[in-house]
Amino acid sequence: MQAEHLGKQVSSPGSPDGRLTILDNINFSLQSGKSLAIVGVSGSGKSTLLGLLAGLDVASNGRVLLDNIDLNTLDEDGRARLRNQRVGFVFQSFHLLKSLTALENVMLPLELAGVEQPEKTAMARLTEVGLRERFGHYPNQLSGGEQQRVAIARAFAAGPKILFADEPTGNLDQKTARHIIELVFRLNREHGTTLILVTHDHAIASLCDRRLTLAGGSILTDET
């Protein structure tokens, strides 16, 4: 994963030049299999950076290389394919499909990828996160921690090369949060995935190989 002179501006009628800079000249690279924490106060640009790195959004300047592929050269559908094949996500608010059972939620990326027998893989992933007994449960029948575990199983379902986690423990109590973080790091190790994690929590950040601290849209510190 490599970010080169990455920047994001949005139009802002109130500002002097009509533009508001959210991210400015972000440069870093991360080796495969390593973990990176992006930390910073609210409004520092963490989520925007994550969106750019994961190909969910398009940069105003600079470029992102993911597995040596320049995301700028891909259109939206190309980026979607890339996400499907190489990227996994875990979100603060879980983002499970309410109408789908736990198993169906995990099957979804596999089905979108056209994988045969998606059920088998999905079951294996759910078993891996300790939800063997919860296959048929709907999100509203699961606790917050369980929902996040389903989301983690889903993130790892299609065998991603890189996992993006946006405040994965933000909606959970301390004890559950610790279990979830342990799970993410364990699976990350076992699957040899690169992990990019956005968090407020310095304790969680300290578990990563590297920490980028953002302030006002720029990198304040880059620690290893």
Binding site: S47, A80, S99, G114
Partner: protein, 829 residues
């Protein structure tokens, strides 16, 4: 590897069904298609029934007429098609009783006559009539009132018809197939076909009309008609070829029914569009997650479109089934009211129902569904990122296309389709514009009202877009309901008014020139008879623009017929009632004009290929009369006035021998005047059309009743639109109510705020609906139904009140459940 879209779509459909997400849209399609197919099934059956009823006036489903006996192989062909047949032989002949002699129209029938309709006879003059399935037995005849009076005979008297002596056994008071040529026929004598040889009237060269009456299933009739179409020398009369007054009634009925079907389609679409909008809004998150998990735009589009197609097809099938059941129940309810048992519905509506349901669903819901492809995956991080709302063209372009495709199919009338579509489009634009203005107006004055109304008005302004959509939906729904209730009554009453009390029920023909002054005096003495006496001069068309007429040169059969037949010309100074100038101008004044002018009925002008300005030559009593066509006229044939195909200007026909004709209304109580008239003018033929008018009125009433029933279904569809419109903002309203409850608002305060919002929406929608319904009524009355404009001011009172009441009750009922639920549960949902 490519994802299996069909599998994903099926799973998505099942999941959405399980979670209740698509139930509303499915119900909308089901109800829409159910109402649509109820209309189609029922219309189909009613149309068949109406045609059966109409066939009574032909006495058959199809009649073959010829100057020569209908060939035996034709009859055999009819039998092979499973049709029932019966023959009629008709001719004019003198009938003698003692020393009295009268010209009569002889009708020789065989068993089985009439195939449709019933004969009614009585045993004496003006005595009670009864329905009979018999025909005159061999050796006996039945005669009508006129002949009975003219011959001065009794039941049981003998009359001579040609060489045969036959006994009068009954008086015919009604025969179903008599009305058509009423001005050309002499009094009636009906006899048994078996007695014809004994009369020796059928000789080489004698003028005899042979008819073969046919009856059977409409499909068999159609097939037989196609098989026989090429046979020359046979004139084929289906119910639409005969009887102009009936043709007019049937066409009008079809227009009404077509309109009902058309409105059902539009309402169905509206309900679907609203449901689809809600479905899509609730799927933004799902799509964002799917996009995030790698689904490209094409995958999203395919999954949801396929899902929509599967849903609409399945729902349409269910809708068809319910529609079939619905019309079956309706038909049973109607069984006591209709004269005949309704025929079974055909399967056609099933296919058209499924196709129409799917096309409507795709047309109205697809633009919304396509929005899903534009959901940004970034929405997973920033929840406020909704895809751009659809523009007006995006929203309604395919909907209008779907309607434009479906409506001619449903209404079968291009003009009606265009007017209704344009009307709906303009109404939608007008409603949206009006809603924006009224919302702004109310918003400005919200500080002057109480808290509840301030809250309600603030809600409407804040949700301006959805409020406008809601007002549009409700406004259109209520407008349609107004059209179908109040306005429909206006239009139907107007139609009913075409045959008001006082419609002429007596025709006097064969009035000689010498009789005219005395007849005028007679009518003057008895002020109960008011009528204009028209001259009637027999003529043949010999040249058009100085070119001799060759009947075979006319491209159409109708043209050939007009070129061959004789005309009854009249002259008139003023345009007769129930006549309207189509082209050219009516001659001014009543002073005899040196220049002969003619006015042609527009249909025969079209059949003959002539128009205003053409020169026409008629042969009258051996002399040629040439004149210019000054105008063409549209004639309301269904008014029972004495109407003429060709009218000349005063002076043109002065020197030619004329017979005179008149028609007037006479109350039942004054019938003795007819007997006096018969005595005073023995050579005048009096024709009583009371029975015929009653028949036509009966058909009209039945058509009106069926239209009312059919419109009842459309009314239900309108209510579904109302429900869908309220449902669109239900989620948001529930969420806000729960939130208000959390921050301490009491149930009463929340209800007051909601009530204020519903009242405002209801009032705005009601006012706009009343305005647009009036507008559409004016357009329909003037341009489609060709009636006088009637504006129902009651609409302006009823619409806002009813609209407000319905929305208030339905809206509060929908939200009541939320208020009874702990707010935390609502918020979690």
């Amino acid at each position: 590897m490519k994802p299996d879209i069909l599998q994903l779509a099926v799973k998505s459909l099942l999941r959405d069904w399980r979670s209740g997400e698509i139930r509303l849209i499915a119900i909308a399609i089901i109800i829409a298609v159910a109402s649509l197919t109820s209309v189609s099934f029922f219309t189909d059956r009613v149309r068949q029934a109406t045609e059966i009823q109409a066939t009574e006036l032909l006495a058959a489903d199809l009649v073959l007429q010829s100057r020569r006996p209908v060939p035996a192989d034709v009859r055999q062909l009819a039998l092979d098609h499973g049709l029932i047949t019966t023959s009629i032989t008709g001719m004019r002949s003198m009938v003698m009783a003692g020393d009295k002699l009268n010209m009569a129209e002889i009708k020789a029938v065989e068993a089985g006559y009439p195939i449709r309709g019933k004969l009614r006879t009585s045993s004496g003059l003006f005595t009670a009539e009864s329905v009979t399935t018999d025909i005159p037995g061999p050796g006996t005849v039945w005669i009508d009132n006129q002949l009975f009076q003219q011959l001065g005979i009794q039941i049981g008297s003998e009359v001579s018809v040609g060489s045969a002596r036959l006994t009068v056994s009954r008086i015919i008071s009604y025969e179903p197939d008599r009305g058509g040529d009423m001005f050309n026929i002499a009094p009636r004598l009906m006899m048994n076909l078996a007695d014809i040889p004994a009369t020796n009237l059928v000789l080489p060269g004698s003028r005899v009309d042979y008819s073969l009456l046919l009856g059977g299933e409409s499909e068999a009739i159609l097939q037989f008609r196609q098989a026989i179409d090429a046979r020359t020398g046979l004139r084929i009369q289906g119910i639409r070829d005969a009887r102009p007054e009936l043709k007019s009634a049937l066409e009008r009925a079809e227009q009404f029914l077509g309109l009902a079907a058309l409105v059902s389609v539009a309402l169905a679409g509206l309900a679907m569009a609203m449901s689809a909008q809600r479905f899509v809004t609730r799927h933004f998150d799902n799509c964002a997650i799917m996009r995030c998990l790698g689904a490209d735009q094409q995958t999203i589009t395919r999954i949801y479109l396929l899902q929509l197609l599967m849903l609409s097809t399945l729902s349409s099938i269910i809708g068809c089934a319910i529609g079939y059941l619905g019309q079956e129940i309706l038909a049973r309810l109607l069984a006591g009211m209709t004269a005949s048992v309704l025929p079974a519905a055909s399967v056609g509506p099933v296919f058209t129902g499924i196709a129409a349901g799917t096309i409507t669903a795709v047309g109205f819901a697809m633009p919304q569904i396509l929005r899903l492809r534009n959901v940004s995956p970034l929405r997973v991080l920033r929840h406020d990122m909704d895809p751009l709302p659809l523009g007006a063209i995006g929203s309604y372009g395919t909907a209008i296309a779907a309607l434009a495709f479906l409506t001619p199919w449903q209404s079968g009338n291009l003009r009606l389709t265009v007017y209704t579509l344009l009307g709906m489009l303009l109404t939608a634009i007008f409603l949206a514009g009006g809603a924006v203005m009224l919302i702004r107006f109310l918003h400005r004055y919200r500080s002057r009202v109480g808290t509840a109304f301030r809250f309600g008005l603030a809600n409407i302004s804040r949700r301006a877009n959805s409020s406008i959509a809601q007002i549009l939906g409700i406004g259109l729904g209520v407008m349609v309901m107004l059209l179908l209730t109040l306005v429909r009554t206006d239009l139907l009453d107007e139609w009913r008014g075409r045959l008001p009390e006082g419609t002429p029920n007596y025709f006097l023909i064969n009035i000689s020139e010498d009789d005219v002054p005395a007849l005028n005096q007679f009518m003057g003495r008895n002020n109960k008879i008011v009528a204009a006496i028209y001259p009637m001069i027999t003529a043949r068309l010999v040249a058009i623009n100085n070119n001799t007429v060759d009947p075979d040169a006319f491209p159409t059969e109708a043209g050939q017929r007009w070129a061959r037949r004789s005309y009854n010309l009249t002259w008139a100074a003023a345009l007769p009632v129930a006549n309207e100038i189509s082209t050219g101008a009516w001659w001014p004044g009543s002073s005899p004009d040196d220049d002969p002018l003619f006015s042609f009925e527009q249909q025969i002008a079209q059949d003959l290929g002539v128009s205003t300005g053409d020169t026409i030559t008629f042969l009258i009593a051996g002399q040629e009369v040439t004149g210019r066509i000054a105008s063409t006229r549209r004639v309301q044939w269904d008014t029972f006035n004495a109407n003429f195909f060709v009218i000349a200007n005063p002076g043109t026909l002065d020197n030619y021998p004329a017979n005179y004709i008149t028609s007037f209304y006479l109350d039942k109580d004054d019938k003795h005047l007819i007997i006096e008239l018969v005595k005073a003018f023995p050579s005048v033929t009096i024709y009583d059309v009371d029975a015929l008018i009653t028949e036509v009125r009966k058909i009209m009433e039945q058509v009106i009743r069926t239209v009312e029933f059919v419109f009842g279904f459309t009314l239900l569809a309108g209510l579904v639109v109302l429900a869908a419109a309220l449902q669109t903002t239900h989620d948001e309203r529930s969420y806000e109510s729960a939130l208000l409850s959390v921050i301490g608002a009491g149930r009463r305060q929340i209800l007051a705020g909601l009530a204020a919002e519903f009242i405002c929406i209801g009032m705005i929608a009601g006012i706009l609906a009343a305005f647009s319904a009036t507008l559409v009524e004016v357009v329909l009355a003037k341009y489609v139904f060709d009636m006088d404009i009637v504006i129902n001011y009651l609409v302006w009172l009823i619409a806002p009140l009813a609209c407000t009441a319905v929305i208030l009750v339905a809206g509060l009922a929908g939200t009541w459940r939320v208020l009874s639920t702990p707010p935390i549960i609502t918020l979690r949902q």
